[in-house]
Structures are given as C-alpha cells and as structure tokens.
Amino acid sequence: MFIRSKMTLLCASAALALGVAMSSGASKAAEMGSMHIAFGDIPGADMLGFMIAAKRAESRGVKLKISFLQSEDLASQAIVSGQADIGVGTPYALIQKVKAPIRMFYQLSKLAFFPIVNTEKYKGWKDLDGQPMYTHARGSGTEAIMNLMAMKNNIKYSAMSYVPGSAVRAGAMLQGRIDATIVDAERRTLLMREGKGKFALLPLPKIDASDEALYANTEFMEKNEEAINILLEELVLTWREINKNPGYVSKARAEYNLLPDMPASDAEGIDPYYAEAVETKIFDDNGGGEKAILGDFEFYDFAGTIKGDTSKLTVEEFWNLAPLNKALDKLGRM
C-alpha cells in the first residue's frame, strides 16, 4: 500500500523481463496452464518474498507471469476482467459493493504503520488535538488507524490531508513541512535514524488487519486448483523460512537472480526491511486464515471500506480458504 520512490524504472523493466523468464522457464508444467499475477505497485523489496515463493513454485512446474500495474485499482480491474489471474491487495469494497466474482485466499502481510511526530511540537496523542494530520489517502488503512486513535484518545484533528506514499510523508517530515503523520516500517527506521532524536513514535495498540492479500477470480481458482495449491505450499514455506531467518530473502534473491537491477543502496535495505517486518510480525506462518479475516472486518468497517452490519458478514463472502487449508493440512499448522 505504499510507494517506493527510490525504486527505479529500470528495476520495473527488469522485473517484467523476469516475469517473461518465469513464464518461459517451466516447460514440464505446460499442461498446468499459466498464472498471471498483477501487482498494483512498482516492484520493490517488499515483493521479494512473493517472488521467491513464485520461483520455488515454478521449479515445481507452475507457470507464472508477473505484471506491475500503476495502482491497486487497476490490478483489481485486470483480475475482474480476466486480463490477469491473481491480484495483490485487499479488495473488500470491490467484492461487497459490486459483487465482483473474486475471493481472497492468502494473507501476504498485515498492516504495520507507525504514527510519528516531531517532538519539538508534540509529545503524545493528546497534543494532536486540533492539529493537522497527514495520511495516505481517504479510506486508506493509515487514515483509519489515525482516526481510530483520535477516537480512542478523544481528540479531533483540525484537518486530514492526503499525501500518498510513506516516502513522500517521511520526506515532508524531514523537511519540516509537516509535524505528524503515519509511515511504514521502512520509513519509520529512516525517520528515527535521520531525525537524530527529533522524532518519536506514538504508542499504538496492536491492529490486526490484512495489508496485502492474494485474490483471484472464483472460476480461475476452480480451474487451476493444482497450481494454486503448489503456489500456496511454497508461499507458506517461504513465509515460515523468512520468519525464522529474515536474511533468507537476500540469499534467495541472489540465488534466483531476482530484481537484478535494484540499486545497491536499495539492496542493502532488504535485510533490515525483512528483519523489521518479522519483528513487527507482519508475516503470518499460517497465511492468515479465519482469525485474520475477523480482524479485517472490524478494521475495514471502521475505515469505511466495508459498509453495513459486520456481524452479518461471512468469511465465505470474501475469502476462499479451502486451498490454504489443504496446503496447511499437508504442511502442518504452526
């Protein structure tokens, strides 16, 4: 859900080439058909986990192709219209409001965002009463978190402004244009390091909601059961591997030659990024599952993404957990 401003376009083209390589590489799996995956963002370090799992699935005969689209909305439209098969995002609104024939089936990551303030102006939540706030976009997770905290602390922001991209908001913090915002883990570390003690994180209760999930057209899932199962098994195994050893990502990146054109400075950020991600527990060993979904209902209802009475919502309306359960039955639950 955040924009990686540092990533170069070169990287994007290289990744597209990778997609092509992936689709042509698996000859023995021709009978299994191919899966076209659409990311709603430009390629970045956070996608490496998925790319590793994809490479591993490929070696088991699954044919994969990855495209990087401009936005999550575009990616979801591509899935709905059948131009791509598997999307990345949390399309709750799309499913609920226009009855899009898609279901989510694997939680890639949980929301992990960090409210941060300039201590020269604010010390705690209460100081933000009557102050301007900056979040990613209307209806986004970042806005929902900040509004939730305002409600819990009984304060009110003077205005909510939308500045898409954690990197952009972090830049504005460093330049002193804004004094309070919410950023992702990567930018939290950056701000704490570059701010030289000027910035402080505000306490946040644990928020259990999906940031990114895999979803697909229901018809596609029925027809490609076997391939999806292989992909899910490799995803679960890769996620568990990363949780055990975050350094696995850069090793596997070298092994599979993933995002080869990534600038060295960005590549150096891979290890710390995954170490942090694991530390903040954004990768679930069991692919989310039912308990993650109930957390989503609550959070996305608050965010305004889901409308109506959440107690009446059923998991089946939004998710298809059968393939994941099948994979977990085989691999065992942790």
């Binding site: 609104a93 609920q96 409001k97 226009v98 899009a100 209806g139 898409p164 952009v168 244009r177």
Partner: protein, 269 residues
C-alpha cells in the same frame, strides 16, 4: 443622395428553423446518455454504472454537500492558476506579438512548453512546490499558460495589416493602434486561446488532484474508486466535464457580450 442609391442590403441568413436545431441536439444528448445506460446495463464492466445510477449518485452528492465542498477545494487552484495564466499569458503573448525582443525571448520557451507533454511533469512539480496549493496552481499554469501565450502571440502577429495601416493613415499613435485596432482585432483568437487554456487548466487541476494530493473532485474520483463506489466516481467525473463545458460556453458568451458586439447582434437578429 437618396436612399434608393443604396445597393443590396445585407440580410442575415434565416436561422434555419431554430426548432430543428433543438431536436437534433436533443437527439445527440439522448443518444449519448442512452448508450451509456445500455452499456451500464449490459454491463460492459462491473466498474461501469448505468447513467441512471450515476445521476442518482450525482443528485445525492449535490444534496449532501459533498459536491459543493469538492468544488470549493478544486476551484481554488483552478481559479488562481487560470487567473495567472490568463493575465500573464495574454500580456506576455501580446508583448511577444508587438516587440521583437520579447518574441525572441519567449518563442522558444513557450513553443517547447506547448509541444512537451507537460502533464508528465506534474509529479515533478512536487519537488519544487511541495504538495500544497502552490503545486496545484503550478500544475494548472504549466498546462494552461503556453496555449494562452501562443494564441495571443499569433493573434497579435496576424492582426489585420490593412487595419493597422488605416490607423496609421489617420495618425493614430502606437498606443491607439494597439488598444483600438490590434487587441480588438486579435481578441477572437486570444479568446480562443483562453478557452483552450481554461480547458487545459481543468486537465491540470484534475491531474494535480489525482497525482499530487487528492483534494476536491480528484479526491472524490480516487476515493470512490478505491472503495468501489463507481456510480459516485462517475458522477464526479460527469460533473467536472459538465462544469468545464459550461464554463467554456460562458466564456464564449462573455467574449461576444463584451468584445464582439457585432456577433451578438448577428445572433440576436
């Protein structure tokens, strides 16, 4: 000298039945909206609402004040940006047409600006102007100004030589020549440039609201898209198209009323 000597008097062509025009225009509008309704009912995409749903959403947005609030936000950068572009644009363009040195100074800049895909530069505007009002105003100006400048410049350069000579033959000063002949003669093309400039300004402000920070109409579009409320999204898009068309139409009316009395009379007769 008697009036009998006056030769054939100009008779304006009959406004070949006003009613026929109305009928055809209505058919044109009905055709577009009808096709929209049908396309929405098929549906061509789950993200494409029917015309009726869109109008319902538009009505709701008008009634609950969301639209008014959005326009209040969008109009700020639009008005400031178009104001700057129009004021300075006409001034610079006219000066380019009148003075060689200004022409040589300005021509390369504005021709490149007009030819270049300025919309692609909007995200870069944030590096200089940040993410606030200034960036959006700048986006409007970089899209609107070149066309206004170049049209004014060309209009003045192509001002009727015969009229300029006529003015000179009656010992009109340079200032009289500019004010009484060149500018009025150039005004149709200057206004054409202003209309195009305002249209470009609309593009600029919407791009800025989509690409820089979502506010106003851009926010309505992105927000409703992100939460899959497509009828609301199309309602916002429909409203801005309608608003732009009406604004440009009014600009034409203003031009005729204040600068082209002879055309006003022609239309009225």
């Amino acid at each position: 000298m008697s009036r009998t000597l006056v030769d054939s008097v100009y008779i304006p062509p009959e406004t070949s039945s006003f009613d026929t025009m109305i009928i055809w225009r209505t058919i044109s509008v009905l055709f577009v909206f009808g096709s929209w309704e049908i396309a929405g009912r098929i549906p061509i995409s789950i993200a494409f609402p029917t015309f009726f749903e869109t109008m319902t959403a538009l009505f709701e947005m008008i009634m609950d004040g969301r639209l008014a609030h959005a326009y209040f936000e969008t109009l700020k950068p639009l008005l400031v940006g178009v104001g700057i572009s129009a004021g300075f644009g006409v001034l610079i363009g006219t000066s380019m047409g009148l003075y060689r040195s200004v022409q040589w100074l300005g021509e390369p800049i504005f021709i490149v600006m007009q030819a270049a895909p300025m919309a692609a530069l909007i995200p870069l505007v944030t590096f200089v102007y940040g993410i606030g009002l200034a960036a959006k105003v700048c986006a409007v100006v970089i899209l609107a100004a070149p066309i206004i400048v170049l049209n004014s410049y060309k209009a003045v350069t192509n001002a009727n030589v015969s009229l300029i000579q006529m003015c000179a033959s009656f010992q009109g000063s340079r200032v009289q020549q500019i004010i009484r002949v060149i500018i009025p003669d150039a005004s149709p093309m200057i206004f054409a440039g202003l209309r195009l400039g305002v249209a470009a300004g609309f593009i600029g402000v919407i791009l800025a609201e989509l690409l820089i920070t979502p506010t106003g109409i851009g926010d309505l579009i992105t927000y409703h898209r992100s939460v899959a409320e497509y009828a609301d999204m199309y309602a916002a898009i429909f409203s801005i198209i309608l608003f732009a068309a009406v604004t440009i139409g009014l600009l034409e009316k203003a031009e005729i009323a204040y600068f082209r009395p002879e055309r006003k009379k022609k239309k009225g007769s």
